[in-house]
Structure formats: C-alpha cells, structure tokens
C-alpha cells in the first residue's frame, strides 16, 4: 500500500521526484504570537522554587506524535505529497520502563486532485489511498503549495494526537497522569482532566512584557513562575506556568525552559509546586543526542524514538542520488 499508489501514479505519467522538505523532520517553530495572560497565583509574576521532594505519580503516560512527508511526484506543477503521521502513548509503571499502551498511524496523499492529469488522477483514485485535497488557491509556486501541504500534515498529526490523548485520558486509572507533548488547550477533554499536563518546548507565544517577561524568561533552574491563565479565544481555557529544567546562563534565555499547561482549576495552583518538582526530575536521563535535549523530557523523546523506529523507512532519505542522471 505504502509504495503502491506512488508507483501507480508514476506509471500513469506523474514525474517521479524525491524531495524531503526540511520541516518534515520536525515541526515548524511556533510563530511569534502576542497574547495576554492573567495571573491566578500571586499578585505579580514571581518565581517559586519547585518542591524537589514531591513524590512522582506511580504511573505516568506520555503522549507524542510524529509527522513525515515528502514530494513523490509531479503532475505538471501540481505536487503529489506522501505523508505519514503517527502518535503513541507509552506508560511508565513501577519498573520505570516505558511500554506502549496506545498507538495510531496514518498514511495519506496530499495534492490538488482536480489539477492532476487525467491518468494520474485515475491512478490515484484507483489506488485507494486516502487523499487530502488542497484548495485551488494553494496551487502556484512550489513553496506556496508545499506550505499548504505542511499545514495539512500538521493538522493530521494534531488530530491523531488529540484522538489518542482523549482515548487515553478516559482510561487513566486513579493516580495516573498523562503528559502530552504540546498544547493541552487544543482538546477540551484533555484541558479539563485533573491529571493531564501539556509540556510546551517552543515559546513563540508571548504572554508577558516588561519586567514580567524578564522574570518569566530568566526563571532560575529548579524554579517555576506563578501560575497564569492565557487568554485565548482559539483554545480551551487552561492554567500555565514556566518551569526551568537547566540553568540558562551561558546558553540562551529559552535554554531548559518549559511551559506547562494544566487544567484551569484552583487545585492546579496548589499542585503546581509538586508537579513541577517531579517534572524537573524528568530531565534525567537527558535525551541527547536530540538537539532539544535541554527541554525534551526523556520519556517524550522515547515515544518519539519509538514512533520513528516504526515509521516507514523511505521517507527521510532520498531513494536516489539527486545528482543529474547520466545520459542513457
């Protein structure tokens, strides 16, 4: 199936190409977005030492997803994109080892079907692959079309993560927590659950300015900021705080900095110190050689490694040299 539809469209006249967009390897950094936040702890943004001795939950599940995509054919200027998204939940029990408890993956094609040459279109439709159709307005220069394809891949991955997270959170046993890599606020079910945390590593959204911003971005290692409530109409209401895993001095302001999302509830404020305490301990073992190791929890890294190990092997590296072919 994976290669079947690609071979079919090539046989039908699509020009085989091999292009792996850089963004296929990871996610695009969050676009800088200015928003406001309301403090729900303290009168002004402060820093608090985390409760280093806070007991960790007996069982924690970790949710993450991956996405991979590449352009595999051209029908004229219309690209045919092959995409793969996957998400998994791995649970850590008393033996401190992670085991997969839920997993889903999806492979699909992205193109503008109506713009394809007729034989290619027929071949694609006959192959049975799921096709995500781009809007006619997304066609044009390749960069424009690929940007649109990227959005579709992101969306598919987020949807998969959300579905898996919502299924998992309903199965959480007493005392068991779910840690989600990314925003919690994209799912109502997740955002309302008392034992679910979102861990955000990229900090495109700006919630503070001036002295508060400085305090937030210079929070010392092993400390957190006051809990605040981001004000966004696009997301579910949640509470959030910054947490520093490693000292940033000598590196950069965002080094070792996480933003945590949790249920918008007063108990969250009370629990922030304890939750931050065991989250800080999650910095070990370090998740090297990943470049984001300073804020990538090892367990999340493990889920990602698991998913990449199970992903199709022909997405990331070109199947053939990109040097011009010798004349034949």
């Amino acid at each position: 199936m994976a290669r079947g539809w690609v071979d079919a469209i090539v046989a039908a006249g699509a020009v085989p190409v091999s292009y792996v967009p850089e963004a296929s390897i990871g996610r695009q950094a969050d676009a800088a977005e200015a928003t406001v936040a309301e403090l729900v702890e303290d009168a002004e943004l402060r820093t608090h030492r985390v409760d280093a001795a806070a007991p960790a939950p007996a069982a924690v599940s970790f949710l993450d997803g991956i996405q991979q995509w590449r352009v595999v054919g051209q029908s004229g200027v219309v690209p045919l994109v092959r995409a793969y998204v996957a998400a998994a939940v791995r649970r850590r029990g008393g033996d401190r080892r992670l085991r997969t408890v839920a997993e889903r993956s999806l492979e699909f094609a992205i193109t503008h079907v109506e713009a394809l040459a007729a034989p290619v279109r027929r071949a694609l439709e006959d192959s049975g692959v799921t096709v995500v159709n781009l809007a006619a307005t997304d066609l044009g220069q390749p960069s424009r079309t690929l940007r649109a394809a990227h959005v579709q891949v992101d969306r598919a991955r987020e949807q998969l993560e959300r579905q898996l997270g919502e299924r998992c959170v309903t199965d959480l046993r007493d005392g068991e927590w779910l840690i989600v890599d990314g925003l919690l606020s994209e799912s109502e079910l997740l955002a309302r659950h008392p034992r679910t945390l979102g861990v955000i590593k990229s900090h495109g959204a700006q919630f503070f300015s001036g002295a508060d911003l400085e305090r937030a971005l210079t929070v010392p290692a092993g400390h957190r900021t006051s809990v605040f409530a981001p004000q966004s109409h696009a997301h579910q209401p949640i509470y959030s705080w910054y947490l520093r895993l490693w000292p940033w001095e000598g590196n950069d302001l965002l080094y070792g900095l996480l933003r945590i999302e949790a249920r918008a509830h007063r108990e969250t404020v009370a629990a922030a110190a304890g939750a931050s305490g065991w989250l800080v301990r999650e910095r070990a073992p370090v998740s090297t050689p990943d470049e984001r190791w300073d804020r990538l929890l090892y367990a999340i890294h493990d889920v990602e490694t698991y998913l990449r190990a199970r992903a199709p092997r022909d997405f990331l590296s070109p199947t053939a040299s990109r040097l011009p072919r010798a004349a034949s």
């Binding site: 070990a284 073992p285 370090v286 090892y298």
Partner: protein, 652 residues
C-alpha cells in the same frame, strides 16, 4: 533420548552496514530480561521457514553479547545525574537498553547455496534443533548409530543431550581426546571418568570390544573406580537424560609396583578390604631391556652402547649362550646378566686378550653394565633383580574393563618405563589383533610433564606422539589431560579429534592458541563452574559448552578417607597377605614358619613364581619353589697353629 519441543521466539536477527549478517556470523537482539547467554544455541528461521515452509533455517551458538543504552556519551549520564551517582539510580525513567548478541553459525539448512543469515526470528534450540545444529543427526540415526553421550548442553533452563561420534572419538575417522584446565577446578579427571563410563555403556556393538588403560600418576585419583560415589538428584537426573546408568565400573583391574621391600604395594589402595584386588606390577630383565633407552640418559646411548644392548636382547636373553671363555649362560634376570658380565670381565683378564669382546669394547660393556644394574636399584619394586615378572594381561584384555596402573608413587624414571612399555605392548598386540579387545583408551594425565612442547626429546614423548599420529588406525586411543595446552607438544594436542576445556587460567587463554575464541567465550572459560566443559568435536563447527554429572565412582580423596591406606606390613605379614589372597585356605602361621630365617630374595622369588603360576595349591607350590631348608652348618673351630720359630726374647 532426544525430546522434541516447540521453540519459543526469543529474539530477532538485525543487520546493519557495520554489523551485517554473514554466512558465518549474525547478530540478534532479545528482551533485556532473557535467559540466554554465551554458549546458547539458537535457531533462526528465515521467511518461509517452519514446519511447512522451505525457507532457510540457520543454527548458531552465541559467542558474544553486548548491552548498551541510547546514551550518547558517558558524560551525558553524569550531567543528567548532576555528578551524583546516587541520583542516577533515582531517574524516573530507565533508558532504552538493548541486549545484542553475536552468534557464530553452526549449520545452515539448506547448506547450499551458502548465504548470509536471514533477518528472521530467533528461537532457543530444542533437543532436536541441538542435534541438527551439531550435525549429530548424522550419527544418532541410521542402522548403526555411533553416539556417545558427553554431557548436557544447558541454556535458558533447557537441557539437551550432546553426543560425540564414536568414529571420531575412538577411531578410525579421527580419534583421541585432550582435556585442559586448571588443577582442582577443571574436573579433568572426573570428566574422563564420566566419559569412560559413557563409552563403556554406549560403545556401538558393531565396533567390537573396548577397554581402558589408565595411568594413575597422582595421589589416589583413579584408585576407587569400582566403588560407588555420592550423587545428588541433579546428577541422577542428568544421567537419566543422557541414558547412562550411574554405576561404578563393573570390571577394574589394579596394578601397582611393589615398594623397595618387594612385598608391600606402592599404592594408596592398600586398605585391607581393597588391596586384594591389586596386582603387583613387577618386571624383570626381559621386560626392561627393550626399553633400556627409556631408562638411560640420552648421552649414554651412543651407537656402541645401543649396539651392545641390541646384542644382549637378540643373542643373549633367554638363550643358551657361550661366553667364549668356556662358560655357558642362560640370562633371564638381572642377576643372570651380572653373572655374564662378571664372566666376560674375568675371562678377558685371565686370558690376557685384548679389550674387545665379540667386537664390543670392554669400556662399552662396563658402561652398559653400570647403567643396567643401576636400573634395578632406582626402580626397585618395579624392576626385580632375579625374580619372575608379573605383568598386565597382554592378549587377555577384557571387554569394558578398566586397567589402572598406579604409578603415582613411582619415581619419574619408573613412570617413564611403565608408560613406554605398556603403550608399546598395547600397540604390538593391537597390530597383531590379539590383545583381546579391538580398541583401548589410554588415559594419561599431566601431559605438560610427559609431552611438553619444549625440552629434550624423550622416549615417552615420542611414544605419545606416535599414538597421537598413528593410534587411530590401530584402535589405540589417547585420552590426555594437562593444565596448559599451549605448553604441550603441538602434534599431540593437534591430533586430538575431540578437545575438552574446563576452567582455564587467564594467562593460558591469552596465548595465541585461543585467538579463535571470542573475548566473552574466554571469560566464560576463565569462570567455568565445576562440572561444565567446553567441547570441540569434528562434527561441531563451533565450541559448545556442556554440563556433565559427577562420575558415579568414588573420588580419590573421598576414597582415601573411607578406605584409608594401610601402613606397610612387616615382610612376613606382607608375604602372608599375598599368599592368602591367592589361596584362602592358607593359614598365616604356615607361611611364617616356612619363611622363617629364609633370605628375603628367595622368598620374593618364590612368591613371584606363585603369583605367576597361580597353582591350585599355592602353599605347596610356594614351599616347593622356596626349596628345602638347609640347616646352617657351623664352621669347625680352627685349631691354633704354633709358630714355627718361637719368638725370641731378643728384641732385635
């Protein structure tokens, strides 16, 4: 015998550019908590393999193991634990780890075309798989199976019997067994005892009869092979699994030289309940002369001396011989020979002839006389001056019988003589096919002493080389043991078709001969527990680790505790004991009266004659050989003779 079980998948073959699967080696991973280890035999099933499939199946033995995590560098672990090892243990998540194993291919099915190992599922080998992997199916099935159980392959709580091929252990295809290992921990002697028992119970009927000749060279090691030893339930279970009845050897014949007194036996098996089974091993001139080279320094044996010794053997020994001076001699003993020498020297002196006697220079004759007369002194107890010999039952060897020759307390020269003569006689009889059995296993311990890789050429080493290189055609099989295989003559160990390794010394393992073993295999060898061995056999393409049960015989050191050696008996009592053993009707006082005031040499000679003849009435025969008592004659007092000339009082 072989039990068939459904194997369970335990791993998966992996191959990368840096660690590819090849036709001879592959890598596979298992769960972290796995029961397999170095030496485990595994089966890989390629696509299409299985009960119905025709895909490739590969058998391999684990030769190395690796464990690693996703840790990029050790420094990152330090960073994660903030430099505190205690914190490292408190990490909330255990890193991903791998147990990666390297296996050497034992066998591929189909064998042609030979291809890299498929990247398939890995299973622990079942009994049937072990038999197939080790190519045992070729000799365990068929009309005339030739399997000899050697031990249990043990891995992951699974045991499978392993068999050697008698055609390759005992000839004629290959032969000989060599066992190495450190003293006390390698259980070399126990392994040989167990294997001999296994051979005796499983030697194929179509291959004829077999016996063993064991040289006991140290302590009481082989002195109690006919006595049951202690076995626990695990041993009994292993015996059952191997199809061997755990029992001591039914027929054991013990031989030991006498001590210098000529009547007490030079062995630790002298407890009154056991000593009756021990035959004295006594050799005379005839037995020794053919092996004079063994006893004389190489410097002594120049061409002239050698020629003279040959002359004595060919022309003098056991023949009526005229010495050329009017004397006639029939030389049968060292005493007879000395009489001949004296006659030659006297004759030459009296006749005033030249220094030559029958082309032999008198100096050569004197030299040979000195050396030969020295033999009976140095090997007193083994070599008799003038008595008849008592030898192994050449030509009458019995099937499934162990002949133990105890030379543990004999000096090195005597040991050499015993080895050389016993093995030479075996060879003579096997060549003539009149030994009584078709095959003989000769067990020699301490090969570092008897067949060292360096040092002077000795008769014993030449003899061991000869067995190693030519014995398999005759049915003469060498089972040899040593501590340091690297220091034994290369051709002796190289000709051993089967090799066993017990616990090895680390220095020994560092020598070039062990380079073919993986570091993990070496570590396993250096820490091998008692009762485990590594075996190499022509059918096995890789060394295999085995466990064998304790031999069902009394261990030497237990034997001397249960049957403590008797103290040496006085001469008279020792003679009584030997005669009573031959004839239970004899009363001690009768013997003591007979030998009272007799010369010990005469008594020894008469006793040896009784031993050799085994008459119906031993006492009567003994009395006859001893001869009538001659009453001592008191010399008449000589009368004083007065001086012819009285001594003058004149002082001048």
């Amino acid at each position: 015998m072989i039990q068939r079980q459904t194997p369970e998948s335990i791993g998966r073959v992996v191959a990368t550019e840096l660690k590819p699967a090849t036709p001879h080696q592959f890598h596979f991973w298992t769960a972290n908590e796995t029961t397999i280890g170095i030496g485990a035999i595994v089966k890989v099933e390629g696509p299409g393999a299985g009960d119905q499939g025709s895909g490739r199946v590969v058998f391999g033995v684990v030769t190395d193991g690796f464990a690693y995590s996703d840790l990029a560098t050790p420094l990152h672990d330090v960073v994660g634990a903030e430099g505190d090892p205690a914190k490292a243990a408190e990490r909330p998540t255990v890193r991903q780890e791998i147990r990666l194993w390297t296996a050497a291919v034992l066998r591929q099915e189909p064998e042609e075309p030979l291809q890299p190992v498929p990247l398939g599922a890995v299973y622990l080998a079942s009994d049937a798989d072990v038999a197939q992997a080790l190519r045992m199916d070729a000799y365990l099935t068929g009309a005339q199976p030739t399997g000899i159980p050697v031990g249990l392959y043990t891995a992951a709580g699974h045991e499978a019997p392993v068999y050697l091929d008698a055609d390759f252990l005992l000839g004629p295809e290959a032969a000989h067994l060599n066992i190495s290992g450190v003293s006390g921990l390698a259980t070399k002697t126990s392994a040989v005892e167990f294997l001999l028992a296994s051979i005796f119970q499983h030697f194929p009927a179509h291959k004829g009869r077999i016996a063993a000749l064991c040289f006991n060279v140290k302590g009481p090691d082989l002195c109690f092979l006919d006595r049951p030893g202690a076995l626990d339930d695990a041993d009994r279970r292993r015996y059952e699994r191997l199809g061997i009845t755990p029992q001591p050897f039914e027929r054991v014949r013990y031989y030991a030289p006498c001590k210098a007194d000529g009547v007490n036996l030079n062995t630790l098996r002298t407890h009154p309940d056991l000593v009756g089974d021990v035959e004295p091993l006594v050799w005379g001139l005839e037995e020794v002369l053919d092996f004079a080279e063994v006893l004389l320094n190489r410097d002594d044996i120049d061409a002239k001396a050698d020629a003279f010794i040959d002359f004595l053997s060919d022309r003098v020994l056991n023949k009526e011989f005229d010495d050329g001076f009017g004397g006639s001699h029939r030389v049968q003993t060292f005493a007879d020979l000395d009489g001949l020498f004296r006659a030659i020297f006297d004759g030459l002196e009296l006749t005033g002839r030249s220094d030559m006697w029958r082309t032999h220079h008198i100096a050569t004759i004197r030299k040979v006389r000195n050396r030969l007369s020295n033999i009976s002194t140095r090997c007193k107890g083994l070599v008799t001056d003038d008595g008849p010999s008592n030898d192994l039952p050449w030509g009458r060897f019995e099937d499934r019988t162990v002949y133990v020759v105890d030379v543990a307390n004999v000096d090195a020269l005597g040991q050499d003589l015993v080895f050389a003569r016993a093995v030479s006689k075996l060879r003579e009889h096997l060549e003539r096919r009149d030994l009584g059995v078709e095959a003989v296993v000769v067990f020699v311990d301490e090969l570092n002493k008897y067949a060292p890789g360096d040092g002077p050429e000795t008769y014993v080493r030449k003899m061991l080389l000869d067995i190693s290189e030519r014995g398999r055609y005759l049915g003469l099989v060498l089972f040899a043991a040593e501590q340091f295989r690297s220091q034994v003559h290369r051709r002796v160990v190289g000709n051993a078709g089967t090799t066993l390794f017990g616990r090895m010394d680390a220095d020994e393992l560092a020598t070039p001969g062990y380079q073919v073993l993986s570091p993990a295999t070496k570590i396993k060898l250096a820490t091998l527990p008692i009762g485990e061995l590594m075996v190499r056999h022509p059918h096995f393409t890789q060394p295999i680790f085995l466990r064998f049960p304790r031999p069902a015989v009394l261990r030497g050191r237990d034997g001397v505790e249960r049957f403590p050696p008797a103290t040496d008996l006085p001469f008279e009592d020792a003679v009584v004991r030997q005669l009573v053993r031959l004839d239970r009707r004899i009363r001690p006082n009768q013997v003591k009266d007979l030998i009272a005031e007799r010369r010990p040499d005469d008594v020894r000679r008469a006793l040896a004659a009784v031993r050799r003849t085994r008459p119906e009435d031993a006492l009567a025969y003994f009395r006859r050989i001893l001869g009538a008592r001659v009453a001592p004659v008191t010399a008449p007092a000589r009368e004083a003779v007065p001086p012819l000339n009285p001594i003058s009082e004149e002082p001048y």
